[in-house]
Symmetry: C2
Subunit: 216 residues, 2 copies
Amino acid sequence: MDAYTPSERSQVRRLPKRAAYDREQVYSILDEGYVCHVGFVAGGQPYVIPTGYARAGDRLYIHGSPASRMLRALEQGAEVSLTVTLLDGFVLARSAFHHSMNYRSVVVFAKARLVTDPAEKLEALRAFTEHVLPGRWAEVRQPSERELNATSVLVLPLDEASAKVRTGPPVDDEPDYSLPVWAGVVPVRMELGEPVADGRVLPGVAVIDTGRFRRG
Amino acid sequence: MDAYTPSERSQVRRLPKRAAYDREQVYSILDEGYVCHVGFVAGGQPYVIPTGYARAGDRLYIHGSPASRMLRALEQGAEVSLTVTLLDGFVLARSAFHHSMNYRSVVVFAKARLVTDPAEKLEALRAFTEHVLPGRWAEVRQPSERELNATSVLVLPLDEASAKVRTGPPVDDEPDYSLPVWAGVVPVRMELGEPVADGRVLPGVAVIDTGRFRRG
């Protein structure tokens, strides 16, 4: 299996048994999430900004207004740390100390690059839409020239990344198993509610099928 | 209402109409989330690490192993940007460009300080447990001296923070409302699954009541 070689910065230091460096694992976590947290330094100050994203092959795309602080910092070639975290469950132990969470997370390290090629930019916008709702791109009006110019797209190569995963039950200290306390995992998942039309949907247009969403 | 005065770094630049600077809004988002993303700079490199947290009054606590990269960087007084993001829905418009997400996020800027006072440290550990499951602290074995020493707790004053919120339907370009495309919001929420006991729960111990969790 294709694996990342951990770098100084991508190597998981804490609880290395939870680390994973294979691309398949990294990609599957990225493909399941919807929001990433982008870390960058501007003026010596760290910023962490949540934003949408999409993966296409060995590249990850984010986008935003050209005027945003994030875009301005990143298009100048700043180093980025980008993290996606999926919360899978609450781990309830018999001692406060051993409480934990089950999760899957990915940290990507990269220098972002502004996408200038119009074809790659359009492909990235398609990927954003399809990442949220497969099939949506073909249903909606595609971007105009003006809209394309109003959007900046950044690409991050997925060359340096690591995953960290916790699964399974709590691990208690042996004497604590005699305590009359419930212990185990309460799973967490994302659920979709009933779609709420915006009031101007034309008669005869079917409501969106939430089964089309991932994790729907 | 008590309000933050936006600083150079905490002022929301992009889509300022979505910004909120009142403490009540900031606190309610922090209290609803479970995972924060902590951004810091170490050796010139930004890192973004997901971790649990808890708020107590005008302070936010995070914790971890004293050996972790994050703790080592932060306890030396590094600037921190800490973000909590709640995804509330997918906003489906008639054009690709106007697709969006409904969300609530908070960004906190602070210098972290290592908690050395044993009483404050214990209070923070109580807050972590109670943040995940109200009432849990009183049910479980409390931390031993050894466990307290194996945990580092950092405190961040909630003095400089901002919230950003998007709610409501998509906003399409007027001509696009004539398109036969479903548009509106598909709400997203966190759901809890059936608790999974760890196999060593004593006979007669009741399964955890998931109604006790926030958003359960």
